[in-house]
Symmetry: C2
Subunit: 463 residues, 2 copies
């Protein structure tokens, strides 16, 4: 247990208010998720109808609940939420997740109801996540409050904070079905009338289960506080933030007034940078950076080597490195000698490494293994990208060598991408990712990700 937010992430006892016996209703899926994740605390349910849901007896009212409950998940229509929250407070339940929508994000009436909740918080001191959140997750405690059917959520060491329900719903579904990494904590902020991104960051800063933090934000409620916490935590843990256009209305206006947005955004950009935050721009990078943080350590710097099976790729990717602020330095004479040794003489070996001839003459495994090992051993290199050519004719080796070679240099990230037959690319991903080597479907992505990681690393080592 650590800190004031522990009851959200390590609750000993939980109640679902608005529990439903109907499959595919949020009040039912929330219970299934808790069971599927193997939550070991006590689970209570409330529904006026009473009875039993999924084998658990249902209390007919909040008043009828036993004492000592840490956290309430309130899945009720907006209008019933303030009353239920007040009753929870009266019952001594100090923490609540408010899952319904229909508040300030919708209309005047919703804004009024939201204000009632703010009043309850002020009067009772109850801490609230939401409203309009699809929940949160804490895999070290085998717990989730999400009402989106996810089943077992894969544990990991990266945590997500998002001003969107996506990371507790369809984006998490995508991660669980398309990727091999998991999460430590996921915090869906929703309308953040109480707990906001600063609180979330503060919690994750001291969370021993979280080694990397990825955030999606549309606004920053208390910028000074946020930057203060960020400025401190980024010296210890990577913090990656996608900050997109303010509010929906603001964004809509911003499209018409791009100049104004650009000015405001430049300010935010500068402050985030100063605080050591690695800002990103693509939603997809929220997932890819999370994957990389889950599998590799941060590079010590931005000096990259890469092996590709084509001169054109070498040139295009070297251009990309320049655009991304990555260096492609010269290698030690010893490394060049080693590379030249494994290659037919008609390719001049250097960084980046044209591995095609070595791989086709001496075998894909031999060429890539020796080449990768040579550059990883080089003191001028902080990270390596392997563009693996996999086709039946050129040969598809067992993929252990990639994992084994990468593991010999745990302080240097090795990222893999492909060129060739999709079938073998998929096989390689399935094999190496569970063993800790991240792969990327598009050849630009490993470089984009190393650029993000190296900014994190730079922030961590700043004076």
């Amino acid at each position: 247990m650590h800190g004031k937010f522990a009851p959200f992430f390590e609750p000993r006892s939980v109640v679902v208010i608005g529990a439903s016996s109907s499959p595919h209703k949020p009040g039912n899926d929330a219970i299934r998720n808790i069971l599927a994740n193997g939550y070991e605390g006590k689970l209570h349910l409330v529904n006026p109808k009473g009875g039993e849901i999924l084998g658990i007896p249902v209390h007919t009212s909040i008043a009828a609940l036993p004492e000592g409950i840490d956290l309430a998940i309130i899945i009720l229509p907006a209008r019933d939420t303030p009353g239920a929250l007040r009753e929870c407070a009266r019952k001594g339940i100090g923490h609540a997740v408010l899952s319904a929508g229909g508040f300030a994000e919708v209309d005047e009436q919703g804004a009024g109801i939201q204000q009632e909740i703010v009043d309850v918080i002020r009067e009772t001191g109850v801490r609230v996540l939401g409203p309009n959140t699809s929940g949160h997750t804490s895999t070290p405690h085998r717990f989730t409050s999400t009402f989106f059917p996810l089943g077992k959520i894969r544990p990991g060491k990266v945590s997500y904070v998002a001003q969107t329900g996506n990371f507790a719903t369809h984006t998490m579904k995508h991660i669980l079905t398309a990727e091999h990494f998991g999460v430590a904590r996921v915090i869906g902020l929703g309308n953040k009338i109480d707990i906001d991104e600063s609180d979330a960051l503060e919690y994750l800063a001291d969370d021993p289960e979280t080694t990397g933090i990825v955030m999606y934000l549309e606004s920053i409620k208390r910028p000074r506080r946020f930057l203060e916490i960020a400025g401190e935590v980024t010296r210890r843990k990577p913090v990656i933030v996608l900050k997109s256009g303010a509010t929906e209305a603001g964004r809509h206006a911003a499209v018409a007034h791009t100049a104004a947005m650009a000015a405001e955004d430049r300010l935010i950009d500068g402050l985030l940078r100063q605080a050591g935050v690695a800002r990103i721009w693509d939603y997809t990078h929220l997932i890819l950076a999370g994957k990389a943080l889950s599998m590799v350590s941060l590079p010590k710097g931005s000096r990259v080597s890469f092996l590709a099976p084509s001169g054109a790729m070498l040139v295009a990717l070297a251009d990309l490195c320049v655009r991304l602020g990555l260096e492609v330095p010269d290698l030690e004479p010893e490394t060049v000698r080693k590379l030249q040794e494994i290659s037919p003489p008609f390719i001049r070996m250097r960084n980046p490494v044209d591995i095609w001839a070595a791989a086709s003459v001496k075998g894909v495994e031999f060429g890539y293994r020796e080449g990768l090992e040579a550059v990883l051993k080089d003191p001028n290199i902080d990270a390596a990208v392997v563009v693996l050519m996999l086709t039946e004719d050129t040969g598809v080796p067992p993929f252990d060598f990639i994992v084994d070679t990468a593991r010999k240099y745990p302080e240097k990230p090795v990222l893999v991408t492909f060129s060739g037959d999709k079938k073998y690319e998929d096989q390689c991903k399935e094999y190496v990712e569970p063993l800790g080597v991240p792969t990327f479907p598009e050849i630009e992505q490993p470089f984009e990700v190393i650029s993000i990681l190296s900014r994190c690393s730079k922030a961590m080592n700043r004076s």
Copy 2:
């Protein structure tokens, strides 16, 4: 038959010089490729050993060949290539693909051999593709000269010109195994001592089989000529170019002298833009833009609508549109009315379209179909992106509705991407792409591609 390059693309009779009976040798794979593609012309083979390869009798010398051969594919070591080329010319074979490497790209000696070839060309007038090319392809003529084992190459209407062998080798393998589009012509330029990108562009400009041209270039040999042809053809066909860093040596230097490169590159950039070329920066876009050109028509302008299942995605993607120079305009009142009609009232419908409530309350198919049709019907919209949410719980509809709706508005590109369960995303891709609707694994990609297509469209309509 059209133009002086026809013997390369529509040869009536071909000879492979350096034919090999050993499987997995280039001189054997080249023959297999020709057979696999169903080439209907006459195929001759030359190898001093004679005999028979894959059921085809082998001539022991070039001199022993019959008359009337259009094209020679010379797969010999570099040092034997000039002599063979001269013999071909003597035999009246006016066109040759020189597949070996080992010329100027390697060393002084190779440069000397390359000069010998230049001399043969000057003396005999023979036209040469290469050397150091992995070949070319012409699916309308069921012909390919590539020595990389590809089997049957899927026909299509987009043509690739590349200063790299990739598009006749592993990148083509990737396209054939991971994508559902095909190619008309592929031209691997190699060291381009004779035929260069200007010749290739000139040929494709008047090629009725080619409706879109995608090029990867590291240098432009005759910039004035290239820009002259480009300036003309871009009024009729889209031309998309990835221009990467000069020569290998130049590139290496350029990394150290970024400022100089930037200045030179700005010049090239301006000239390409003036010529109506849509320049791109990512290798991956060579493939994705080719896919889009193969399946959709060019948008009339850059006004985009999109449907996404999450407010966060709407905001992040609207930001992306601004960065990409795309407009996300207001919709007609009639369209807004229609959208509001299909949605629960608590979502305010506008462009971009938050389709989550409509899809979850009224069904994924109904919500997306009605929403997509409404925005496609709107005169303010040139193209639409669908971010399709596919999870078991939210429902996985049959995918016909996407194809049917897209086909109703053939002049407006519809591009699909996903959020949710990978399994259904793959199923959707497999279903809709062969029916002409392109899908993209990352949510940013459809917007990046529309931005490229709309630049092509703008070039086509310039005065």
